[in-house]
Symmetry: C2
Subunit: 203 residues, 2 copies
Amino acid sequence: MHFTQQDITDLDNRYRAHFINSLSGFKSANLIGTCDANGNHNLAIVSSVFHLGANPPLIGMIMRPHSVPRHTLENIQATKVYTINQVNADFYQQAHQTSARYDKNQSEFEQVGLHPELGQQILAPYVAESALKMGLKLISTQTLAVNGTELVIGEIIEIMVDDEAITKDGYVDIELLDCVTVSGLDSYHVTSRLQRLPYAKPK
Amino acid sequence: MHFTQQDITDLDNRYRAHFINSLSGFKSANLIGTCDANGNHNLAIVSSVFHLGANPPLIGMIMRPHSVPRHTLENIQATKVYTINQVNADFYQQAHQTSARYDKNQSEFEQVGLHPELGQQILAPYVAESALKMGLKLISTQTLAVNGTELVIGEIIEIMVDDEAITKDGYVDIELLDCVTVSGLDSYHVTSRLQRLPYAKPK
């Protein structure tokens, strides 16, 4: 099936959102933990977290200022810290439920039944149930001119991970941790490893 | 297991690359098809493609200028067009092999045994074997000050997808298409759906 630019423009808005969100492929599933200046906790599921660099250890994510995680963005800009917590198969339904439009004074932790946990470095809350979590300090936010989304870049300053998942060469076996992956707006998947492949060289 | 910022800094470089690359979660697996000004084809696997917006339909990706896909970045900047082709389980090993350091005059299509296919809108080559592919025009490239990587943003102007995978509400079932997901630098996975979840509302 072939779609031209005009075909895409002509799609119903909701249909297009599902359609275009599917095209880039599988996405990470993470809960972003923040607090406001008064220490109130906030938690939001985000599928736009991506690796930006290993040295220094940097993570990027895209936030839509007018969508649900707006409290998250406000908190990050106010406190300069946040946590990223991988979503495991055990609690993906609760993680998804954080995308409901709760009021700013409602903690999504309480609303969905997940538990905040404090680390050693930052005030933002971790998700106790997550098997792989990291604390970040904000490096920069920038509005992307093309569509008004925000690119948030942070540096990892703390990592907590079940040590059974760390392999000899440093690779963390996130499949062993039952981390899930997302496709489109709302489809959750577990994975089955095909193979780790060796560093490729010309034959 | 707990890592501080100092612990991360002290890691061996190769170990840290594997480790940090694993933390953000599952990633998309895509082949980027480009051509240079003379029409020579290039193909490179990239795990940094992400959804940026549905209307207009925008895709972002991160490229490391000094790593293997540098020919890809040069070609995109020269020709302003490229293709993104989802990697299916059938050919993930060939896709991975495109990351070897081939010379600029060698076509990765030929070297790894995949087949270029031309669309109707742009000169950049698609991967015939891919079940989900799109053509993009370049919107912008920008160097991220924090680590010198390039953020490449493109608009989707052509989509080709097996129609059996498009569901009623627009979601494309990329699991049905056997699209793979990547973790870390080199681990490839197929998926098994847990569930599609309804739009979340406060309870």
